[in-house]
Symmetry: C2
């Protein structure tokens, strides 16, 4: 848990080892197969972060390492190269980025894989190339926003994990340029693993915001709501930030009560999903509804209602009720979202 | 999850209601009795935070409400009044604080209970009164550091919860006085529920750092370590911050592998504990050890070893091995700490 980092062995640890002795894997896909968290998009990262074995020269050495590969990010979009009809790659070599205005001075080291150092770097793409309507996977090169990338499933699980990590880390660095305590300027340290204030020398570490997202249900019905900004017809699990002085279970009960007026009994942990919007940890829970009468917080929710298991199963299958134009009346977030996993797990009786 | 807050009904919601219509309780102690998280010190908070129903006048009205009660905090210490031989109270009235240099301009509203608004306020006590060696519960009034308060068990579960919440919130405000994005000054909003930059108007919300703390074990032994700063003989569960792009389970496996070289298989959630040092969420897990040979990170840990179930049970009972002076060779963190709960739960076969 210590966040110091000894300079002593760092140079001998970082780059030579990356190439000559690939780090021993500590995340074995086998035993994770049945783990709900491991099935989430963005949870496939397998890099050795070596956060404690970094010094002032680590970043420069990593950037200029022949084996280094970069994830190039601009304004919530990631740069992709086409590798097949429905597949893409988000890794670029140093030379492969030179045409794209890479900001190597703002690059961060994510860690090392068997193939060498992996970094994330901000690039400045033309606004034109960030226009979704213009994006075409048939083109050899293009930019795609994170949500679309996650929905299309064009990357490998590991690439999604590294993209989430890089996107969250770059987003944090971009908004942590000053010391919140004294107002002084901060500079990147440990190849991006932290920042430090040049005035008061306070260390600042990447922020991750813990959010509880909960499927509240009784025997036959689950509670779903829609925020004012949701597309028409979309319903999802209730969610909210864990506040100071709360346990996970307390946050589930408070948020559910504030938004729907429903009191919650037993709460069970289901899974977590890292979420790069901008740097969130979604903590998925199942909760037992203690009552039926909904008192919606109109400031928070556009609607909040009960769905029976049969309704949910039909909607998941695309057989739900339709409106006058034959459009589905209800739908849930896409499979990439933990909300979808919670709803599906409940409907299928997994939990 | 929205963090706007409508001014419309706020004045009609906040203070009048607090006094005339106590908020409907949504945390029922009954169904929480068996919940590991609910048994933790600092997890007993029951206030209605009403974070969304606060406006510019809420704080002033709350401070001057006759029924308002304040938790007075200075430099990691809380002010206490004696209520019995082994019991104390941490709530003060506005008048009760005037002699203690209260900084009402920095007070934060925690929420409302059946008895009215509850706030936390920084005070400036004499260094003398912060000297532990001078503290004496027999005195009618005194200051005690948070850890000692938690260890002594002198407060009610609810008071511990409110203290943790107030301490974490004040600690965050004290270190969030400038905008980390633009360097501008920030000001408190929503009676302390957020801060806002006067220059770029960015909202800043209280930060909670998610830490995984895990008891890694095989059938008969558990893995415990000691940081360099631990008192001699103390061993605890390994722990570390959840980093961007990680699930809870991944963080457990990475931290355990980095610190001990042990790979972890199945990971199960056990409980969470809010922890006011300064604003942390401890996420307690049980993890399955996949191997036996420890490769300790010497920068992180002073020692790391296996303890058999019998050794753990003996140490918990105070019947562990002793050194030459008859002092216990090993001990674990006090019962107030989630680490103690994890070790005890494993040793007693609860999980």
């Amino acid at each position: 848990m210590g966040q110091g980092g000894t300079e002593a062995d760092s140079l001998s640890r970082i780059l030579p080892d990356i190439i000559n002795n690939p780090p021993r894997p500590f995340l074995d896909p086998d035993f994770m197969a049945s783990e709900p968290s491991a099935g989430m998009v963005f949870s496939g990262g397998r890099l050795d972060r070596l956060s404690e074995e970094r010094d002032e020269q680590t970043l420069t050495k990593a950037i200029h390492d022949e084996a280094a590969r970069f994830i190039a990010i601009d304004a919530g979009h990631v740069l992709l190269t086409r590798t097949g009809d429905d597949t893409a790659d988000c890794l670029f070599s140093y030379d492969g980025l030179t045409a794209l205005n890479p900001r190597f001075d703002r690059a961060v080291l994510l860690g090392t894989g068997p193939d060498g150092p992996r970094l994330a770097v901000p690039v400045a793409l033309s606004r034109d190339s960030l226009d979704e309507t213009k994006f075409d996977l048939a083109k050899p090169l293009g930019a795609m926003d994170f949500r679309t990338v996650a929905r299309k499933g064009v990357l490998t699980a590991e690439a999604y994990g590294d993209l989430c990590y890089g996107a969250a880390l770059l987003a944090w660095h971009a908004t942590a340029r000053f010391c919140a305590r004294c107002g002084g300027q901060t500079v990147m340290k440990q190849a991006g693993a932290k920042r430090q204030c040049v005035a008061c020398e306070r260390d600042h570490f990447p922020r991750t915001d813990a959010v509880v997202i909960m499927l509240i249900a009784d025997k036959d019905r689950c509670l779903l709501g829609r925020s004012h900004h949701f597309p028409p017809g979309m319903y999802s699990a209730l969610a909210g930030f864990i506040e100071p002085g709360e346990t996970m279970e307390m946050a589930v009960r408070r948020e559910t009560f504030e938004e729907s007026g429903i009191r919650v009994g037993e709460v069970r942990y289901h899974s977590t999903q890292p979420w790069p919007f901008p740097h969130t940890l979604m903590i998925g829970c199942m909760g037992e509804a203690l009552e039926s009468d909904i008192h919606r917080d109109e400031g928070e929710l556009d609607d909040c209602r009960w769905f029976t298991r049969d309704e949910v199963l039909a909607i998941l299958k695309g057989d739900g009720p339709v409106d006058g134009e034959g459009e589905p009346e209800f739908f849930f977030p896409p499979a990439m979202a933990i909300a979808n996993r919670l709803v599906t797990a409940w409907a299928e009786g997994e939990v």
